[in-house]
Each structure stands twice: as structure tokens, then as C-alpha cells.
């Protein structure tokens, strides 16, 4: 598939996109937290994928994800920079109330449907998402690749080791340190402060 995509085969590129979209979308949403910006960033990531696929050296899925995540990190940084810059220049066209309502709608859109009818759960979810995004941003590039690949893309330690050109033990160490940092950032430092989590 990756080899066909390298030759700019349209169907191969779209197949790769469809496979990677949920992972990249969830990652970008957590980091950017604004669906109106998320679509731009996600689209940019995949357009770069089309443009630069011939530069991809890996021929396995884990390497492909690692490559995409690095592109996404650059795009997220640029999006934040542009957003700050444009917010300084643009005069808001809507009132504050309207903006807050729109913001709530944007945030609600990607959530699970059962949350939409539960404001308290939705608020908790928004906070969790925000904290996760900030915590992820505090990890190194390699650590992000490991935890996203492991818990969002479902890759094994061996797959990730190939993608990062490391020994499996080194990847386990990266995972250990990354989860330690995440736990600290998310306030899981002690069991008493541990929050309700999802299933892995």
C-alpha cells in the first residue's frame, strides 16, 4: 500500500488517509481542542502526506504513523502561531455570548452522543480533553509517537521499535517515562487523586 502511495496512486493514498484519519484527528483535537482549527490542521497533515509521500522511508504502518505524527506536530505548532496572530488582528463579528455558544457547539460535535445530553459529563470530558492535550504537548516527539501509536493506533512495542529504529527495551523505557510524565501532568501522582478513566 505504501509503495503504491509513493507513486501517487490515488486510491492507495486515500486508503492510507482513511486508516490514519481517526488517530490523527483524535491526536490533533486533543492538542488543538478547537474543531474549527482541527479540520485545517488535519487536512494540512494529509495534504503534506500526498505531497511528500515519496520522502517516506518506512514501508510499515508504524513508521507511517510516526512520520504523520511528526508532520502533525509541526502543523499544530503553526496553527497555534497563526491563531494567536489572527486573534490579535481580527475584530470579532459575533457577540461574546454567540461566540461562547458556537464554542460549545464546536466542542460538542465530536463527542460521544451520550455526552451531548449530559452537560456535567460533557464539561468533565472537555476538561479531560484539554488536560490530555496539554499533557501530550509536554512529551518529547518520540514519547508522543510511542504513546499515540500504542494507545490510539494499537501498535505493538515491536512495531514501534521498527518505526523508531530502536530496541524494544528502549521503546518500553520511552513508554514508561512518557506515561510517568502524563500521570504527573494529569494529576494521577497518587491513587487517591486518580480519576475515572477509559478502558485500554
Amino acid at each position: 500500500m505504501i509503495q503504491r502511495a509513493r507513486q501517487h496512486n490515488e486510491e492507495a493514498l486515500v486508503t492510507l488517509y482513511q486508516r490514519a484519519l481517526p488517530v490523527i484527528y483524535r491526536y490533533v483535537l486533543a492538542r488543538v481542542r478547537r474543531p474549527d482549527l482541527v479540520e485545517d490542521v488535519v487536512a494540512d497533515v494529509f495534504l503534506v502526506m500526498v505531497e511528500s509521500i515519496s520522502d517516506l522511508r518506512a514501508d510499515h504502518e508504524a513508521g507511517f504513523y510516526a512520520w504523520l505524527l511528526q508532520i502533525a506536530q509541526g502543523k499544530i505548532a503553526r496553527a497555534w502561531w497563526h491563531r494567536k496572530r489572527s486573534e490579535a488582528h481580527l475584530v470579532p463579528l459575533l457577540s461574546q455570548d454567540d461566540a461562547e455558544m458556537d464554542d460549545a457547539r464546536w466542542m460538542a460535535e465530536p463527542m460521544a452522543t451520550d455526552l451531548a445530553s449530559n452537560p456535567a459529563a460533557l464539561q468533565e470530558w472537555r476538561e479531560t480533553l484539554e488536560e490530555l492535550g496539554l499533557a501530550l504537548g509536554s512529551l518529547t516527539t518520540e514519547q508522543q509517537i510511542v504513546v499515540i501509536g500504542r494507545f490510539l493506533a494499537g501498535q505493538s512495542i515491536e512495531d514501534l521499535a521498527r518505526a523508531l529504529n530502536k530496541q524494544p527495551g528502549a521503546v518500553r523505557a520511552l513508554q514508561f517515562r512518557a506515561l510517568g510524565t502524563l500521570a504527573e501532568r494529569l494529576g494521577f501522582a497518587s491513587p487517591a487523586r486518580r480519576r475515572k478513566g477509559g478502558r485500554i
Partner: protein, 382 residues
């Protein structure tokens, strides 16, 4: 087993839904909690409409890339006889070296030009290069393909202009290039003889126009009011259901309030009314052809002013009112700054099926009355 391996063992157990022993220490417990929190992201669904929009752009980009390759192969320079001559003669070496320097400089300029955007110094070179490629393409079908490929590039340029926060002048130029290339692409495809080849190219054009439309919608929140009006106009050309204002009447009521009635087309539910570019008043009635808004006397401007409509999807229309017109009079057509919905004749094959709108089905009436006097420049003229 070291701690890293032990943690991974616990994670593996949970990932595969098997019984997992309770972590022996708080640190592992906290790390597993972090992994569980991270895994919550998997509950987020990707919005299908967004996925479809991005896929359309990827397909367009993949085709543009492929077409670009073909053009390069077909139009690429052939090695001349001189270039095959031996290089051991010193005078020729010098001449060729000098020529190589010139060629490399030209190649460098062309490469830089290919990455330039409207408003950049080298953008003229890029346009010239595109024009040469079109002129040297004799086959009408290849020409249409190249035109569509150019349009795809121009849409990307417009996107880059906005995302880079360029000036309104630069964005206006980029939008104007897109509008021109859209018309030229449509004309090039329309001139092809009927048949399978034309059908394939027509499909490619429609996908590109769909991409153009999605891009314009996507960029609307990032541009200011005057650019919003210009983008809306181009969306109207593409057959999108954009708002138009044909008439505004204002009546002063009791308790220092004005009742303003806007007549037009495609007013969406939840539309806002803007006076002189600022949201004002409370909407009392909202149908697709009429908006009634009540404005406080303190917010009511004197002299010449603009009345605008902002639909929730970001499209906008605006009309200029003279002070004399405000007491129930209709507008002077020459003063209209509104965004018309051009008639279907100007958008062959573009407004047929994107979302079943009825905007393109209008017989050009609103476009003729509202934007006929200011086509393309209304937005920036206010």
C-alpha cells in the same frame, strides 16, 4: 523483570482484555491511569462530513500531482545536440559553464516562482510560466486538464494566503486568480466534444469545484468582513446558496427603536444583521427572503451606512444605504454593495448537486439587481 517491562506487561494484559493484577506500587497505578485517560480519546468519532471534505481535497491533490508530472514529461526540454558534444575543449567548457550558470539561475528563479503566491515579487513569473504551458499545449483535452490543474494550484495558493495572514490586497488577488481560472476551466471543458474523455475531465472539474467551494467555506471564519463578502460572491458563482439583499426599509417606531426590514434571498435561520459591519439589533422575524430586526435608536447610524447579513455558515451579504433611503424607501440599485447569486448560466455544471440547494436555480434575478453593478468588487469597495 525491570520496571519498564513490568509496566508494559500490565498494559499488554489490559490491552488484550485479560485479567490484570493490581499494580504493586502507586507509580505504576498512576501510569496505567494515564494510559487509560489517553485511551479515552478513542471514544471520539471523526465527523463524517469533515472526513469527506478532506478526502475530496486529497484526491484533487493526488490528481494534480499526477497531472503535474505528465505536463513536465510532455513539455520538458529535450537535450540539444550541443549538450552532447565533448567537453574537453576549453573554450566550449567556459561557454557551457557560463550557460549552465545562467540556466541554473533561471531554474532557481522558476523554482522560487513556482512557490510564490499572489502579491509576491515572483508571482508574475509563475503566471507567465503557466501561460506558456497553456499556449504550448495544442490538444484541447490536455489543455482543459492543465487548466484544472492550475485551478487546483490557485486554490492552494488562496488557502496559503489566508493561513499566512496575508494582506487583503494579496488575498483579493488570489481570489481573483481563482475566479478567473474557474471560468477558464469551465470554458475549456465546455468546448470539448462530447464523449468519454470529456465526461472524465468534467468529473475532475466538478471535484475541483467542490474542493474550491469547501475551501472557501473553510476559509470564511479566518477572513475579515470585506473578504467575507468577496468569498461569498465566489461561492455564489459556484452555485452555493449564499445570501443576497435586494432591499432595505427602516421605520422609526415608538420608544426610540427602528424596525428594519431586509428583503433578499437565502437568509438562513440564525442569521445576524450587521450595521456598518457591527452586529446590531434583535431579529424579530427570519425567513429565507425576509429579515426583520429591531434596532435601538442609539445604534442607528445617520448618513450613508451599510446593512449586512451574516449567515451561520459564514457567508455574508451587504448593501449600502443612503440616509435619504432609510425612511421606508428602497435602495438605489447603483448603491448596492450586496452579494448577488449569479445566474446558473455563469456556472456550467457547478451548482447542480452539491447539497441540493436552490440557490443556483434562481434565474439570476437577485444577481442582476444586487450585484450586477459591482461584480467582483463589492466587498472591497466598502
Amino acid at each position: 523483570m525491570n520496571r519498564e517491562d513490568h509496566l508494559d506487561h500490565l498494559i499488554e494484559q489490559r490491552l488484550h482484555g485479560r485479567f490484570s493484577p493490581v499494580p504493586e506500587n502507586d507509580d505504576d497505578s498512576a501510569r496505567i491511569g494515564a494510559a487509560e485517560a489517553l485511551a479515552q480519546l478513542n471514544e471520539i468519532e471523526v465527523p463524517p462530513d469533515m472526513a469527506a471534505r478532506i478526502e475530496a481535497r486529497i484526491r484533487a491533490k493526488a490528481r494534480a500531482h499526477r497531472n503535474g508530472r505528465i505536463v513536465m514529461i510532455e513539455g520538458g526540454p529535450r537535450p540539444s545536440a550541443d549538450a552532447r558534444r565533448p567537453l574537453y575543449r576549453r573554450p566550449w567548457m567556459i561557454a557551457l559553464t557560463a550557460a549552465a550558470v545562467v540556466v541554473l539561475a533561471c531554474v532557481g528563479v522558476l523554482r522560487a516562482a513556482s512557490a510564490s503566491l499572489p502579491g509576491d515579487f515572483l508571482y508574475g513569473v509563475k503566471q507567465f510560466e503557466q501561460q506558456i504551458a497553456l499556449t504550448t499545449t495544442n490538444n484541447p483535452a490536455d489543455r482543459a486538464r492543465l487548466q484544472i490543474s492550475n485551478l487546483q494550484g490557485d486554490i492552494s495558493d488562496l488557502e496559503a494566503e489566508v493561513s499566512q495572514g496575508r494582506s487583503d490586497d494579496d488575498i483579493t488577488q488570489a481570489l481573483s486568480v481563482v475566479a478567473t481560472e474557474t471560468r477558464d476551466s469551465q470554458a475549456a471543458v465546455a468546448s470539448l466534444p462530447a464523449g468519454a474523455e470529456r465526461d472524465a475531465i468534467q468529473q475532475s472539474l466538478e471535484e475541483t469545484l467542490g474542493n474550491e467551494r469547501a475551501t472557501l467555506y473553510q476559509l470564511l471564519p479566518s477572513v475579515d468582513w470585506s473578504m467575507r463578502l468577496a468569498f461569498t460572491q465566489q461561492l455564489g458563482v459556484l452555485g452555493a446558496p449564499v445570501p443576497t439583499i435586494t432591499q432595505v426599509t427602516a421605520v422609526e417606531g415608538s420608544n426610540d427603536a427602528w424596525t428594519v426590514r431586509l428583503t433578499g434571498t437565502n437568509f438562513a435561520s440564525g442569521a445576524h444583521v450587521l450595521i456598518n459591519g457591527t452586529p446590531r439589533g434583535t431579529v424579530r422575524q427570519n425567513t429565507s427572503t425576509e429579515l426583520v430586526v429591531e434596532v435601538n435608536g442609539s445604534d442607528w447610524p445617520g448618513g450613508t451606512y451599510t446593512v449586512g447579513v451574516l449567515n451561520p455558515d459564514g457567508t455574508a451579504a451587504q448593501i449600502t444605504q443612503k440616509g435619504d433611503d432609510q425612511h421606508g424607501g428602497s435602495n438605489d440599485g447603483d448603491d448596492h454593495g450586496g452579494q448577488g447569486t449569479p445566474g446558473p448560466g455563469s456556472t456550467p455544471g457547478s451548482g447542480d448537486d452539491h447539497d441540493g440547494d436552490d440557490g443556483s436555480g434562481e434565474p439570476g434575478g437577485s444577481g442582476g439587481s444586487s450585484s450586477g453593478s459591482g461584480s467582483g468588487d463589492d466587498g472591497s469597495s466598502h
